[in-house]
Symmetry: C2
Subunit: 248 residues, 2 copies
C-alpha cells in the first residue's frame, strides 16, 4: 500500500502491471523483462539518482539527477535556469532510467560475459509543478525521501530560492524493469574446454563514515530518522528504508 | 598519451579541450563545468556503465549499457535484435552520459542540499562497426578494458555469436564534464541559526569477494591482469587501473 500522511494513495482499481507496448517491451533477453509494478517500484525506490533522456531541437540529452516516486508519479527538480527543465516545463516526452549495478560476471567466452543489474525505464511526459503549495510539499518530500524527517529540521526556502527552483513531475505512462541475477552461465562444452578462471564479482554502493560539517553547532543529536545511515550500509537498502519511513 | 598496442594514438595537433557550444555548455552552476579532455577522459575511463539517450519516432530512450573509450571514440555493444542498436546502426545522434556518485551533502536548507559527483555528457553520432576485423578487435578490447589480458584466455566468438553481436561506436563531437567536490556550503547566517546536524556522507561503489564458478576447472591460477581486483577496492579505481593496463 502506498500511503502519504496517513492517507491511502493507492487506487485499488489500478492494474498491478504496466501495459506492454512497442515502447517498453524488453526485446533483448526478454526473459529478463519485468512489468509488474511491485518490481518496478522497488527498483525505483532503491535509487536516489536517475538518468533522464529528452530531446531539444532533435538533439537527445541524457541528464543525471536526483528523483523520487509518489504512487505513479516521478519527481525531480533543478534550477529554473537549467536547459533540461526549461525544455521540460511545457511538457515533453522523457524516459527516466534507474540502474543498479550488482555484479560483474566473468564467463569462458566473450559472448557470455555479463553484468548483474536491476534497471527500470519509465516513460512519460514531463511538466513543471506550478502550484506553490504542491511545489513546497514536493520540496519537503524530496528531502524527507532521502533523510526521513529532515524537512522539519532545516530552514524553509526563501522566496528567491523558491523561485530559482523548478520542480518537475511525470506520470508513469508505462515502464519496464529488467533484471539479471544469475551466476556464470556458459555454453555446456566451454566449462571443460576453456581453462579461464571464471567468477562473479559483487559490486555494491556503500555509505562511508559521515564527515560532520566543521561548523556543526555543539550538542546537536544525530537525526532520529537517519538510524539506517550506518557506515558500510548498502546505499540501495538505505534508500529503500528511507523511502518506506517517509511514504509507508 | 593514449597508446594502443605500443602505438601512440594521440593526434598531437588535437586541441586539449572540447569546443563549447549551445549543446554542451554547462548552464546550471557553470563553475562546475569542465571541458578539458584530460578531465573528461578520466571520468569516462573510471566507468564501466553509461546511459545512452537516443530518439526513435520522437520518443526518447535512455538505455544503460557497458562502454569504453579509445582516443576520441566511444564504443558499446549489444544484440543485433535490440531496439537501441537497430535504431543506431544507420547513424543517429546520441548523448552518452557517465555519472559517479561520490557523496551526499546534508545542509541547513533544502536549497543547499547536494550530491558530490563526477559526470560527463558526450555527444556524437552512433554508427555500427561493420568491418569484421575491426569488430573482432573491439570485442577483444571490451573484455580487456574490464579484465586486462582476458581476451587471450577465453574462447573466441562463434560465427553465430559474432553475427548476433552488434558493435556500435561514436566519435566524441563534443562533451562536457561536471564535478561537485565540496563539503557542506550553507548561507552564512544559517550556520548559527539552524540547529540541524549537517554532514557529508561518502558513497563508494566497491568490489566484493569473488564467487568462483561452481564448475571451475581445478588448478587454474587467478588471472595475472586482475591483480587490482581486490575485495573492498573502489570500483572506479579498479576500472581506471584496468583501462591503463590495456590502453597505456
Amino acid at each position: 500500500m502506498y500511503t502519504y500522511q496517513g492517507r491511502d494513495m493507492t487506487d485499488i482499481a489500478e492494474p498491478a502491471t504496466y501495459p506492454i507496448t512497442e515502447v517498453n517491451r524488453v526485446k533483448r533477453v526478454h526473459e529478463r523483462g519485468r512489468y509488474d509494478k511491485a518490481t518496478v517500484h522497488a527498483i525505483l525506490d532503491a535509487a536516489l539518482v536517475c538518468h533522464i533522456a529528452y530531446v531539444i531541437d532533435g538533439q537527445p540529452y541524457c541528464t543525471p539527477t536526483g528523483f523520487w516516486r509518489e504512487g505513479e508519479h516521478l519527481y525531480w527538480h533543478g534550477s529554473s535556469a537549467s536547459r533540461m527543465l526549461k525544455a521540460q516545463r511545457e511538457g515533453i516526452p522523457v524516459c527516466l532510467t534507474v540502474t543498479h549495478v550488482d555484479a560483474l560476471v566473468m564467463a569462458r567466452s566473450g559472448f557470455h560475459h555479463s553484468i548483474n543489474y536491476r534497471a527500470v525505464m519509465a516513460y512519460g511526459t514531463a511538466h513543471a509543478i506550478t502550484d506553490p503549495d504542491e511545489k513546497l510539499r514536493l520540496m519537503d518530500n524530496f528531502i524527507d525521501r532521502i533523510y526521513p524527517g529532515r524537512s522539519k529540521l532545516i530552514r524553509q526556502p526563501t522566496p528567491q530560492e523558491f523561485k530559482a527552483t523548478m520542480m518537475m513531475g511525470m506520470e508513469i505512462e508505462t515502464a519496464s524493469g529488467k533484471i539479471r541475477d544469475k551466476h556464470v552461465a556458459d555454453e555446456e562444452e566451454d566449462y571443460e574446454a576453456v581453462p579461464a578462471w571464471s567468477a562473479l564479482y559483487p559490486i555494491t554502493q556503500v555509505l562511508g563514515e559521515p564527515s560532520e560539517c566543521a561548523r556543526q553547532l555543539p550538542g546537536l543529536a544525530f537525526p532520529e530518522g537517519m538510524s539506517d545511515f550506518t557506515p558500510g550500509a548498502k546505499f540501495d537498502e538505505v534508500m529503500t528504508k528511507a523511502y518506506r519511513r517517509t511514504f509507508g
